[in-house]
Each structure stands twice: as structure tokens, then as C-alpha cells.
């Protein structure tokens, strides 16, 4: 219980969707719709080199031929892809900021409301933050400190200009541009995102963090993140997401690629709190994300996610365990309330010898929501001694929601050892009464029990995120009692 002392200091009284405000800043938006010209326009706006434009166009052409998938356990009205604006940039006079003081004060205020005040983060937490608002990267703090170690942490647009060789080599190497419908769409139109490169043998001295936020109405957000950890390096990366309350659905189709070379370790944590829609299920973000990491020899990738937001989530952070002795981990909390739908899980693809993977998934369903775990564990016939342990627990609150488990386990090696367990339960009346007797009311009791249920995963988050995640779980469950 590493957080006990921290927890002692934290208590909350937030109501509603806390981050549901709208920042009023002019934005530079492309007309709605998608065709080759729009793709070219995006590329041009970003002043990209020819090869990048071509890459996007290839992705677009692939996407055109693809069908939106419908195998997941979610129902939603498919977005009209011609009625979305694929580029929106906060309209500032300068494309880049040299220091934080130059950032639009209202923007800064937004970040303050988000609880990620840049200055404070800078001073206190020592976290370097890249903020992607709507579609473009706004500012990257701590750049200098990182540069001294040879660490590159910048927007992907900047990386395309400044480090084209790295981008060329790795972009699309883990998630090919036509991997799936949403990844192809992202590859064609991504407007910005984060790029991170950790050189050989370097342990990144601080948590790197990106905050994503959809602001403009009628826009989609398509950010692209690429993290490369060279041999024997280490990085812990945090990703936070928020979006304002809106009536219409907003589309978020991101791609995250992680490359962990020999002996490297990448820890990738997400606290996702896109607007989930209101109590009647109106509005909310469609979160269709492709996240995948590649592990070379002895490398380790660990995905930790706390998913409380979005109207519809479709997301399977995966690990391709290519190198011998590599390790993949997936720790997830997915909480759905009201009319939210989540179909999330992971894929662990064991290709190398002596590879190990762990999956801990905690699903909490309340209201009229549907929460599905979908996972694949695959041990190739050439992968000797593959090991996997999976545990999927579901907690149901009330009788209008659903909790579903769809594990796929494919083993073609006699040396593979795979264990999968799943349980479904509810919060006991006796647990509530026990809490009540100690003066804890029902709502608080439920929050406490849910936090306990999620503990194994919360413990995997970096400290400052763990506190925020607990807070989010509590807020997201409000009104689910009774």
C-alpha cells in the first residue's frame, strides 16, 4: 500500500463531468470531409516532406477500400467520415513557443483547470508535458533538460522535420499504415502527436507526459505517438485525455507505436477520461485506438490504463514479444456507467523464446453500460517456454448493465504455459452494511470498494496518476447508486 500516506491527504467533492468546459480560442480548421486533396492539404499545412505526403496518401488509398469493423461488442451509429473536419489547430500567430510565457493565457488556464498546470508540473512533479489540444502539439516543457541526455521529446510534426530518418524507420513499423480501418484513417490524416526517442543506455530521468484534449466541435482527433527506446534504455510515459461536453459525438482515432529494442523498457500509462456522453447517452467521444508495442530481446513493455471516459471505446493495447526473454504486461481498469460501451483488452503475441506476459483486467459496469474484455494470447509454435497469466475480473453494479469476457487463447507449443481466470461478482450487501456501520455512506462505500477492486492495477500507475485515477473512478461512479 504505497499510497496510503498520499490517500490520507486526498478527498474530493467533484460533481458532474469536471473537465467539461470549452476553451474559447480561435482555431484554424480545414473544411469537413476526406479525400486525397484534404490529405495533401493536411500534409502541406504541416509543411511536410514529399515522402510523408506519399505515406499518408498510401494510407488513405488503403482506408478507402476498407470497411469499418463491426465484430466488437458495441453498438453505435457509425460516424459520417465526410462530415468531420480533419484538421484543427489553435490559431496562434506563431507556430511554436519558445517559452511557456508565450502560450495563450486562456490555453494555460485550460491546463490549470485540468490540474496539469505546466509551471506547477515543472516545479513540483518534474514531469515533461507535451500537450496536444485538438490536433496540434502546443508546448513541450523540459525540452532542454532532456536534450542534455540526448532524449528527444517533441511533437511528431517536429520530428518529421528534424529527425526524418528515425520517423521513416519506425513509423508504421509496429502498426502498419493499413493495419485496420481506424489505424489507416489515422495514418492518412494524423495532425500531430508526440515523438519520443531515448538513446542507448539512457534511463529517462522523469516521467514524460502528453495531455490530449479535443476542443473544437465537429473535429476528429487523430494523434500519433511514437516512442522508441534504444538498447538498454528506460522510459515511463503518461498519457491523459479529456474532452469538453458536447451533444454530438466526437471521433478520436489515435495510433500509438512503441519500439523497445534489446534490454529496453517502456512503461506506458493512460488515464482516459474523454467525455462519456450525458446520462441519457447523448454525445461523448468515440475512442477507436490502435496501440501496439514491439519488444526485442530482453525488452519489456508495460501498458497500464484507466479507462473511465468515452461513449464507445474500442482499444486493445498489445505487445508483440518478438525477442527472446521479452516481457509484455497489461494492467487495465475499465469503468463504464450510464450508456457507455467499452470493448477493450489486449493482445499478447509470443514469438520469441522464454517470453512472458501478464494480463490483469478489472471491468466495472454500472448504469446501463456494457463492458467487455476481449483479449488474445497467442503462443507461436516456435516460441519455446512462453508463459502467460491472465486474470479478468468484472464487477457489476445494478441490473441494467452487462459484463462480458471474450478471451481468445491460441497455443501451438507444448512448452507454453497459459493460465486464464475470470470472475464476475457484485458488491455485497454485507460489505455496504459494514461500511455504513463505520459511518461511511453508500456512495462513498461503493467508491471505496471499487477502489479496492482496482487496487492491483492502480498500484501499477506512477504515483501522481494513481491519485488522479482514483479520483476519476469516484467521479465516474457518481449517481450510479440506487
Amino acid at each position: 500500500m504505497a499510497y496510503t500516506e498520499q490517500e490520507l491527504e486526498k478527498e474530493l467533492e467533484h460533481k458532474e463531468y469536471e473537465y467539461g468546459f470549452y476553451t474559447d480560442i480561435e482555431s484554424d480548421k480545414l473544411p469537413k470531409g476526406l479525400n486525397e486533396d484534404i490529405v495533401r492539404a493536411i500534409s502541406k499545412k504541416k509543411n511536410e516532406p514529399e515522402w510523408m505526403t506519399e505515406w499518408r496518401l498510401e494510407a488513405y488509398r488503403g482506408w478507402e477500400k476498407m470497411q469499418e469493423p463491426d465484430w466488437s461488442n458495441v453498438n453505435y451509429e457509425k460516424p459520417d467520415y465526410q462530415n468531420i473536419s480533419y484538421y484543427s489547430s489553435p490559431n496562434s500567430s506563431k507556430p511554436k513557443y519558445d517559452s511557456i510565457d508565450e502560450v495563450d493565457p486562456e490555453l494555460l488556464d485550460t491546463f490549470n483547470k485540468l490540474g496539469i498546470s505546466l509551471e506547477e508540473q515543472k516545479k513540483l512533479a518534474g514531469v515533461a508535458v507535451d500537450v496536444v489540444m485538438d490536433s496540434t502539439s502546443v508546448a513541450t516543457t523540459f525540452k532542454k533538460n532532456l536534450a542534455e541526455k540526448g532524449i528527444i521529446f517533441c511533437s511528431i510534426s517536429e520530428a518529421i522535420q528534424e529527425y526524418p530518418e528515425l520517423v521513416k524507420k519506425y513509423m508504421g513499423s509496429v502498426v502498419p499504415k493499413n493495419d485496420n480501418f481506424f489505424a489507416a484513417l489515422n495514418s492518412a490524416v494524423f495532425s500531430d502527436g508526440s515523438f519520443c526517442y531515448i538513446p542507448k543506455g539512457v534511463k529517462c530521468p522523469m516521467e514524460l507526459s502528453t495531455y490530449f484534449r479535443i476542443n473544437e466541435s465537429g473535429t476528429g482527433q487523430f494523434e500519433r505517438t511514437l516512442v522508441i527506446a534504444e538498447d538498454s534504455s528506460y522510459v515511463s510515459y503518461l498519457e491523459g485525455c479529456t474532452a469538453p461536453m458536447r451533444d454530438e459525438n466526437q471521433l478520436h482515432a489515435a495510433v500509438v507505436e512503441l519500439v523497445a529494442l534489446d534490454n529496453a523498457e517502456i512503461k506506458y500509462s493512460t488515464v482516459q477520461n474523454w467525455f462519456p456522453g450525458d446520462k441519457e447517452g447523448k454525445g461523448g467521444v468515440f475512442n477507436f485506438v490502435t496501440k501496439r508495442g514491439l519488444c526485442e530481446k530482453n525488452a519489456k513493455i508495460s501498458w497500464t490504463q484507466v479507462e473511465t471516459g468515452s461513449a464507445v471505446t474500442w482499444k486493445y493495447p498489445s505487445c508483440v514479444l518478438k525477442g527472446d526473454n521479452s516481457i509484455g504486461e497489461f494492467y487495465s481498469i475499465a469503468l463504464t456507467n450510464n450508456y457507455q460501451q467499452a470493448d477493450t483488452g489486449t493482445k499478447m503475441i509470443h514469438l520469441g523464446n522464454d517470453t512472458k506476459s501478464t494480463i490483469i483486467s478489472k471491468g466495472i459496469s454500472a448504469g446501463r453500460s456494457q463492458n467487455s474484455y476481449r483479449g488474445l494470447v497467442k503462443a507461436n509454435s516456435r516460441a519455446k517456454n512462453a508463459r502467460n497469466f491472465s486474470q479478468c475480473d468484472s464487477l457489476l453494479m445494478g441490473n441494467k448493465c452487462g459484463a462480458h469476457t471474450f478471451p481468445y487463447i491460441e497455443a501451438s507449443s507444448n512448452s507454453a504455459q497459459i493460465e486464464h481466470e475470470a470472475t464476475t461478482s457484485k458488491i455485497g450487501e454485507d460489505q455496504i452494511f459494514y461500511c455504513n456501520q463505520r459511518g461511511i455512506d453508500e456512495e462513498k462505500a461503493i467508491a471505496l470498494i471499487v477502489n479496492g477492486f482496482s487496487k492491483e492495477v492502480l498500484n501499477k500507475l506512477p504515483m501522481e496518476f494513481a491519485v488522479e485515477a482514483q479520483k476519476l473512478l469516484e467521479i465516474s461512479l457518481e449517481g450510479s447508486v440506487g
Binding site: C435, N436, G439, G452, K455
Partner: protein
């Protein structure tokens, strides 16, 4: 402090309590004894406000206020504490975190500020020392994989932390060996003051050797059939309940 008047209660339509009258003053220790199924634990649950039981008739007056309509958490806010016979486990919630939540919720209900982290830690250290509780114990998940003795000690530890006006100990002695029993009883005795009261519910007399009651009540078939001083408990130990049954029938 506590007055129970003509209390009738049912569970799933079956009447368990059939007219209980009981009055406890500050500073007193009362014991309720009785055979299995006489309604002892039901009485404890009903005072604490467990909604599985339906109160058909009668009132529960606590600190001059009728609490019959209050929810269990509201009763707890007023200072009623129940040490459970079978404390439930809450996986992933540490003892510390649970007590902290409990204390701050109670303080909030009384319009008090939250207890500062340093005060909280200080009090915890103090009380855990009093009850001989290892600090490591406080980081474990509440009641999960606790032994019988650990569960009971944890209940008394919470009682020490919350400092209730009325503590109800429901079969706190069951499942304890003699050393554990002494530790628990010792803890209860140390926490006694002139302002608070204790209601001990037990099956056996042995706990009353260590927590000496001012009044002993005998509960038979949902009614208090006899009250007396601590010697009554000794008599029950020697002679059982049969003589009382006959007495009741004859009466």
C-alpha cells in the same frame, strides 16, 4: 444513553425480537447472554440499523433522540459502533484507508474538518500499540485472509480509533483463544470511560471474567427474561438456561 422500548423485529416475515426493553446509562457495561437463536445478534443488528431486519414496533432512543428511522451510517455518525461477529472482507482496501475514510466521514457529519494526515498517523500508532497490533497489519486488505483473532482485534482497533459512545460487541469472544481474548478484553477495558457505554453480547461467561459487566440480561426467544448483576452470568454458566425456561413458562 440507550433506551429500547418494546422492540419487535422480523426477518423475512419471522418475528425474532418480541418486545425488548433495555436501558443503558453512560459508563455502564451491559451483557446480553442467551442460547443460540434467542435473538442476540439480531438485537445488535437492529440497533445498528441493518435493513435486512424490519422493525415492527417499538423505539430505539439514543442520546435522547429517536434513531429508529436513521440509516446505519447516520447511527454510526451519532456514535454507535458494532463489532461484527463475522466481519466481511473488502479486497484491496487497506485497514488504514478504511479507517481514514470512516473517521473523516464521521467528522464531516459533525461539521468537523478532516483529520490531518499527521494526526491520523499519530493516533493509529498510539492505538495499534495499545492493542498490540503490528504496523504491517494496517497495510493489509481489510479482513482479507485474516485469522479469526485478527478479525476481532481489527474490530476493536477500529473501535479504539472511532471512540464511539456506545460499543456493541457481538460475540467478540467467539473463535478466540485465551491469549487473544485477554488482549481484546484488555483493549476494551482501556477504552472505557465515564461517558461511553458497552453492550457485550456473548454466549459464554468467560469473556465476562475479563470485561466485568454492571448488568447481565438473559435473552430467551426474543425477550429479556431476567436481568441481574454479574453473578447471574456465573449461575448461567453453571446451570445453563433450562431453569429460566421453566421459570418463564411458569410465569
Amino acid at each position: 444513553m440507550l433506551q429500547i422500548k418494546n422492540l419487535h423485529a422480523t426477518v423475512e416475515g419471522e418475528e425474532i425480537l418480541k418486545g425488548i426493553n433495555l436501558s443503558i446509562k453512560p459508563g455502564e457495561v451491559h451483557a446480553i447472554m442467551g442460547p443460540n437463536g434467542s435473538g442476540k445478534s439480531t438485537l445488535a443488528s437492529v440497533i445498528a440499523g441493518n435493513e435486512d431486519y424490519e422493525v415492527q414496533e417499538g423505539d430505539i432512543i439514543f442520546d435522547k433522540a429517536n434513531i429508529s428511522e436513521l440509516s446505519p451510517d447516520e447511527r454510526a455518525h451519532k456514535g454507535i459502533f458494532l463489532s461484527f461477529q463475522y466481519p466481511v472482507s473488502i479486497p484491496g482496501v487497506s485497514v488504514t484507508n478504511f479507517i481514514k475514510t470512516s473517521i473523516n466521514q464521521i467528522r464531516k457529519s459533525r461539521g468537523l474538518e478532516e483529520m490531518s494526515a499527521s494526526d491520523m498517523l499519530k493516533t493509529m500508532r498510539e492505538k495499534s500499540k495499545l492493542l498490540g497490533i503490528d504496523r504491517k497489519f494496517l497495510s493489509r486488505s481489510l479482513n482479507e485472509n485474516f485469522s479469526g483473532g485478527e478479525k476481532k482485534r481489527n474490530e476493536i482497533f477500529q473501535m479504539a480509533m472511532l471512540e464511539p459512545k456506545l460499543a456493541i460487541l457481538d460475540e467478540t469472544d467467539s473463535g478466540l483463544d485465551i491469549d487473544a481474548l485477554k488482549t481484546v478484553a484488555n483493549g476494551v477495558n482501556k477504552l472505557r470511560t465515564e461517558d461511553n457505554a458497552t453492550l457485550v453480547i456473548t454466549h459464554y461467561q468467560r469473556l465476562l471474567d475479563y470485561i466485568v459487566p454492571d448488568v447481565v440480561h438473559v435473552l430467551l426467544d426474543g425477550k429479556i427474561v431476567k436481568s441481574g448483576d454479574k453473578d447471574l452470568a456465573l449461575k448461567l454458566e453453571r446451570e445453563g438456561y433450562d431453569w429460566l425456561k421453566t421459570e418463564t413458562v411458569n410465569a
